[in-house]
Structures are given as C-alpha cells and as structure tokens.
Amino acid sequence: MSETAALPVARIYGEPLVELPSDLYIPPDALEVMLEAFQGPLDLLLYLIRKQNLDILDIAMAPLTRQYLEYVDIMRTRNLELAAEYLVMAAMLMEIKSRMLLPRPPAVQAEEEDPRAELVRRLLEYEQMKQAAHRLDALPQSGRDVFPIGVFIERAAERLPEVRTADLVEAWRALLYRARLSAHHHITREELSVRAHMSLVLRRLQEHRVLEFAELFDPARGVAVLVVTLLALLELARESLIDITQSESYAPIYVRLARPAAH
C-alpha cells in the first residue's frame, strides 16, 4: 500500500483508504466454490485483510466489518448453507467495532486491552497453522509423491491380505479424487441398499431360474425392505437384467434372468 499510488478516497480513523474495496464482487457462479474455498470465518477475515495488505496488528475494524457483513449477506440472500460460525464472528466484529467507537479517557485507554487483541491473536494463530498446513502438504508424501518399495516375496504358502472397511474408504477416496466423479457425490445409502438388493435378486434368480413376483418379497422384513426390493426389481428391469412377464391380467407375474437360454 504505497502512498504514491493514489489519493485516499476516504479516511477512516485517520487511516487513508486508498481504494474502495474491489474484491467483494464475486461472480455468482463462483459463490459456492468460494464458500467451499474458505475454511471458515477466520479464513475469510484473513483473506479480506491480506487482500488489502492491511496490517494484521492494526485492523481497521469498520471497513473490515462492513466487508465481512456484505459477504455474509450475499451468502444468506443466495440461501447458501451458512455455518453458524460465520454469524458468531459477525457478532464479534460488531462488538469490537462498537467498543472502539466508544470514547474512553486516556488513562483508561492505556490500561484497557485493545478490544481487537483476542481477534488478532486468533487470526495470527490460525494463519500460522494455515501456513504450516501448506508446508506439510509440500513435503514429499508417501503414496502421493514417493512410493515405498516392497518387492514380491517368493514364499511357499501365501498369507492372504487383510482388508478393513477403512481400506475401502481409502480406495474410494482415491477414485473420487482422481476421476472427480461429480455424478457420484450423490450416491446415498439408500441407493446402495437398492444395489445390494439387486445383487440379492440376481442371486436368487440364478438358483431358481424363474420365480413368481411375490416370492421375491419377504413381508416379514418390513416395509422398507419391500420398497427397496421393488426398487431393485425396477432398476434390474430398466437395466434389462431381468424379464418380468405376465400372460394376462391378474395372472401370476414371473421374474427371470434376461434371456437365460442364451447361455
């Protein structure tokens, strides 16, 4: 922030404000990305402060609070999910601002702590950790940047690898990252249970070739399972994995694997 750059457009508490904050315009499409990009109110505040090269130890509360509130407003008017922490911070900023506006006798001012002290402490501590995170991320990471060597061991009897659910999670995480499978963000538990029942139905049809529709349902297992089974049947039919036939109205409905004769 050089003095020669421009004439101040305003003075706020004696400090020249050289330019109007220009960084508040966020393209609408990018808003949600922005929301994701910030790790929380501290992160947003740091961004607003650093963006203007403000001295973190001498934060001008008024413009900062205004920018912060504008940002929060944008998020609210767009009905973005706004973490409660953002509102707590807004309240804290306004409180600090109002305390700074109150006139205080010089004597009191000297011994009273600057109302910004706590905020500054948190910002500095957070920024320090943020940088530490970057540096950790920059270290060569096993499995990402460097890979351990473990050549195949010739041995008589193979021990079987153990797999835990955490390993599946890890594998899926790798897949997600690599393929950026946006379509698969939406997979839910429910969908998984449908797919699980698809497998079950196929398995039963392999044993029995043909089953009557009703035989595939087990009312004893509750309504949820009935519904999921029905959804599984519909999905199987949609994917042409099974044939559902009925010779005439009210006749029994039969379910079989699609074109079993071909095999």
Binding site: V163, A196, L202
Partner: protein, 210 residues
C-alpha cells in the same frame, strides 16, 4: 532433478528399474514402453531388461519374466533371511485390487466395463481373479448387451471377512467425498481467490511433462 541428472537415454535402464521395483504386480512390456517419451523399440526394451536382469543376478532380489510381465522378487535362497523378519507386515492388496473391490461393493452389480469406466483404466483379468479366488465377489448375472458381460457383486463371505452384517454398514460415500479436495492441486497462495475460483484451471494440467 537434483540427484537424477536429466535422464539420458542411457538412464532408461534406471527408469525401468525404478518402475519395476515400485510396481506391486508384474508389468507388461506395453506398460514399460509407456514410460518413455520417444518410442523405445520392443527389441531395445527387451535388451535393457536382459541387462538389468544380469546386473541383479548376484543379489538377493532377482528380475524375472512371467506370463503377465516382468517383476522383481526375492530369490528363493533368500527366503530363510526373510523369514527372520517375517512377523513383519501382513500382505496387502494393490491399489488396483482395492479400488476394484470398492467399486463392486458400492456399485454392484457391475460389469468389468463399469469398473473400467470408474477407474479410468483397464482392469486386468488377474484383479478380478484375485477377488474371485478370495471368495469375495462372484458373478450374479449377465448384462444383455453385446458380449453379455458378467455382472459382479460382493458375497456374504466378503461381509463376514470385513465384519459387516450388511452392505448398509459400509461407510457412506458422502462422508468420504468431504475429505477429498476436488480442486486441482493449488499453489500455496492460490486460494482463496475469487478469480481463480471463478475460472478454474484445467484440472488435468500435468505436473511434469507428459
């Protein structure tokens, strides 16, 4: 590169060595050729591999050629030494096997083609065989598309071995998604920045050449 001076064509052998040492499974000649920018003739490649095998002939680990490709493995004579260390690590499935298993578990029933679509790479027959032999997956049908590809699903043995009562007990996918950054790798300073967020760079810009 600090230690590996710019890799000369003569370093091709060191590249092959590194790739083979780091691979968990045998590597095919076709895969090995993809390591190099300019085409390394099949003859050259085979000659380099033979030279490498020769270099390793006096050591505890040897380079062998198998039906499915080349790999390093410990020499049989070395097994007694390995056994002294044995209590060590349990064997692990390769990443390819684990990802295939995860896809079958979460997306069943799926064909090999489905798995390849999700992984973005081909799935070798040996991966499927590994999981079938373990009794964790089996064929539950065929999709009525050309070729009638087999549909794979996980078995009860899979649930048992993982200590699950049903597939619903698998960790939900949305939770997993939250821990993954979907942004391309960013420079330390790049985020948060309205500009870059609005116009993300091509996510596939490779870090090296390629």
């Amino acid at each position: 590169m600090s230690d590996l001076p710019v890799l000369q064509p003569t370093d091709a052998k060191r590249i092959l060595e590194g790739a083979l040492l780091a691979a968990q499974e045998p590597v095919t000649l076709a895969d090995l050729r993809r390591l190099f920018d300019e085409d390394l003739g099949a003859d050259t490649l085979r000659r380099l591999l033979e030279e490498l095998r020769e270099e390793w002939s006096e050591r505890s680990v040897e380079l062998v050629s198998l039906a499915s490709g080349w790999r390093f493995q410990t020499r049989r004579e070395f097994l007694p030494f390995m056994e002294r260390l044995r209590h060590e690590r349990p064997p692990r499935y390769s990443r390819a096997v684990m990802e295939t298993l995860a896809i079958i578990a979460y997306r069943q029933p799926v064909t090999r083609g489905d798995i390849e679509d999700l992984r973005g790479v081909s799935v070798s027959a040996s991966i499927i065989q590994t999981l079938e032999a373990r009794g964790w997956i089996d064929v539950v049908g065929h999709r009525e598309t050309p070729g009638r590809p087999a549909l794979y699903a996980t078995t009860k043995a899979f649930l048992d071995d993982l200590g699950l009562r049903s597939l619903e007990e698998l960790p939900p996918l949305e939770e997993i998604a939250k821990t993954v950054t979907l942004e391309p790798a960013t420079e330390p300073q790049a985020l948060p920045q309205a500009e870059s967020a609005a116009a993300p760079q091509s996510p596939d810009s490779a870090p090296g050449e390629s």
